[in-house]
């Protein structure tokens, strides 16, 4: 019998530390890989109350001191955190005496640690690029942004293969860093459908009443409140929708645009129609997604769009902007509605259409659920990832490092 494949995942977030999409991604990927016979170590930043070492669903998780001294800015903190992550991971590999076959780094946030470990232990490095600085900022305007961009480029340079979660991201990353085409692999992001089907028959009427009146339709936005997510487009669409259908707009998430947006809503006289909940717990979020009459993803830049997939798994009809990974997940008039990005009129049209035509809404959400089952199941995705690992190891075995 061949020895089982061992991979060490490096990620700056892992549950219960949840900042963005990387945390659930690495959690589900690691868990499914473990089920598929891969030994997975996760090295990640610490979190109040979470143990330094634990086994979660077959995955060994190690949490490192995430550097808590003051640092001049976010990027410098990232590099300093990597000092700790790298040394702890190196000690771990040494102490465990296990042969780690592959280091798998998620985004530039762990680039230094991943690259250092690759050279010190002479093992292949794999990188998943979830997002890019040039995409997030819509260009590079300051040295600070260029530095992050070049760190991302460095990670893709050092990586044996670069995994992206959508065809859009494959071409974007290839362009952004000038990579050869055969260095890139597309493995989609996934969603755990069981988490949404549990307690399917539970009565959500009481729960829904906390957010909307019974006669109001519930329109849901979930995401960070930042520019690239297009939340300002969503807010500008609100009055256009209210002219045609009575609805409550629930905005879940935090971000630097929260203050200005809630002020804008107040000045529009719509404070009673738009509710900013901030960050909510997992159970509340999933219930909201199940209650929503429509889930909206109005992003301007979206590498993948996991939140659309989650809504689809929760059987909520989705309206998304026709951009990035969203454009690949959603087929217009089949499993969702696509609207023009950065266009409140188009967005309002899409949302209104779903809210007023119940037959149409049922048609797209039924198809959406099927899409999730067929294409975005973690078990399949982890198998694809394992195939990438094995292909890399086969090439590696012929190198002088092996």
């Amino acid at each position: 019998m061949t020895r089982e494949l061992t991979v060490m995942m490096l990620t700056w977030e892992f549950p219960p530390r949840i900042i963005g999409g990387i945390s659930p991604h690495v959690y589900h990927l690691s868990k499914s890989l473990a089920k598929n016979g891969v030994k997975v170590y996760v090295v990640t930043c610490d979190f109040p109350g979470a143990p330094q070492h634990e086994v979660v669903d077959g995955v060994e998780v190690f949490r490192i001191d995430s550097y808590k001294n003051p640092s001049p800015n976010f990027a410098t903190w990232v590099y300093l955190m990597n000092v700790n992550m790298q040394k702890e991971a190196a000690a771990l590999v040494n102490r465990l005496g296990v042969k780690v076959d592959i280091f798998h780094a998620h985004d530039w946030l762990v680039a230094n640690a991943g690259i250092g470990l690759k050279h010190v232990f002479r093992k292949p490095l794999l990188a998943t690029v979830h997002s890019t600085e040039i995409g997030r900022r819509n260009g590079l305007h300051f040295d600070y942004e260029r530095m992050i961009h070049e760190t991302e480029a460095w990670l893709t340079y050092e990586a044996w293969k670069v995994i992206c979660c959508s065809n859009y991201m494959v071409s974007h990353v290839q362009w952004a860093f000038g990579l050869p085409e055969d260095k890139l692999v597309m493995v989609p992001n996934g969603v755990n459908i069981q988490e949404y089907t549990r307690n399917e028959n539970a009565d959500l009427r009481q729960f829904r009443r906390k957010f909307a009146l019974p006669e109001e339709k519930l329109v849901l936005y979930v995401g960070r409140l930042v520019y690239e997510k297009g939340i300002h487009v969503f807010v500008n669409a609100v009055p256009k929708i209210l002219g045609k259908v009575d609805a409550k707009f629930v905005v879940v998430g935090n971000g630097y645009m929260k203050e200005p947006l809630s002020n804008l809503v107040k000045s529009m006289g719509l404070a009673h129609k738009v509710m900013f909940t901030g960050f909510v717990d997992d159970k509340t979020l999933k219930n909201l997604q199940r209650c929503a009459d429509v889930s909206v993803v109005p992003s301007l830049f979206e590498p993948f769009g996991i939140v659309a997939l989650e809504a689809m798994a929760a059987k909520s009809p989705v309206v998304v902007s026709d951009t990035g990974g969203l454009a690949e997940i959603v087929e217009h008039d089949v499993n969702g509605v696509k609207v023009y990005p950065e266009n409140p009129d188009s967005l309002a049209w899409g949302i209104t259409k779903v809210l007023l035509d119940e037959k149409y809404a049922n048609w797209i959400r039924t198809n959406a659920y099927k899409t999730v089952l067929e294409k975005y199941d973690w078990d399949k995705i982890s198998q694809q990832t394992k195939d990438v690992y094995q292909a890399v190891l086969k090439e590696y075995s012929k190198s002088f490092w092996a």
Binding site: Y67, N69, K87, N112
Partner: protein, 206 residues
């Protein structure tokens, strides 16, 4: 004995007095039959080179070209230092007796290599952030101090060049004074003290 010296300056790249000191140290070590590798930084004279005096140099450059200050510059240079040191390590059949890291710049590499390979390191203190920044304590300075602290904490031995510096290291970082060895560069026993310290740090492996 086989030693890797880490220094951010080495001739022909001279920033302060550290470059020439490290050069003299490396040359004298070679004379005492110590196989001496120096991993250092240069922007275009990169790669491996055997100096006329027998010192083996390995110069690396920063893969990230745009930076917002010396701190981020140093923090992304360390992985290249690790790559060079690892290449030396594997080429030498994993037989490296110790690493001598000069100043704070490559402490990250020294610590990681120690953790990965169980190779002990000496931290040779040229200067401290406390004195360079005259007590300024912006997050920038505190970050550098935290790296100096890490080096002092993880090093097997700390080498300083004066008794004053030993007292400062004790005062600022609360390092036990018996962890610190004073070796004055111009003293007659300089090389003898260095070799003795190296042998102690390398233990039975030298």
């Amino acid at each position: 004995m086989r030693v890797i010296i880490l220094s951010w300056e080495f001739p022909p790249r001279i920033v302060g007095q550290l470059a020439n000191y490290v050069k003299e140290l490396a040359v004298q070590l070679v004379k005492k039959d110590v196989e001496t590798h120096v991993v250092t930084y240069h922007d275009f004279l990169t790669g491996e080179y055997k100096e006329p005096e027998g010192v083996k140099t390995y110069r690396v450059k920063n893969p990230v070209r745009t930076h917002i200050g010396v701190l981020t510059w140093v923090l992304t240079l360390n992985q290249e230092v690790e790559r060079a040191a690892a290449n030396i390590y594997y080429k030498a059949n994993k037989q490296i007796n110790l690493i001598d890291a000069h100043d704070w710049h490559f402490i990250q590499a020294a610590v990681t290599l120690k953790k990965a390979f169980n190779v002990p390191f000496v931290y040779s203190v040229e200067s401290l952030e406390e004195h360079r920044s005259h007590g300024t304590n912006y997050p920038f300075n505190m970050s550098i101090k935290s790296i100096e602290w890490l080096g002092l904490f993880e090093a097997k031995k700390v080498v300083v060049k004066s008794e004053w510096m030993r007292d400062e290291v004790v005062r600022i970082y609360k390092v036990p004074s018996d962890k610190i060895k004073v070796i004055a560069p111009k003293s007659r026993t300089w090389m003898k003290d260095i070799l003795e310290t190296y042998k102690n740090v390398a233990g039975g492996t030298a």
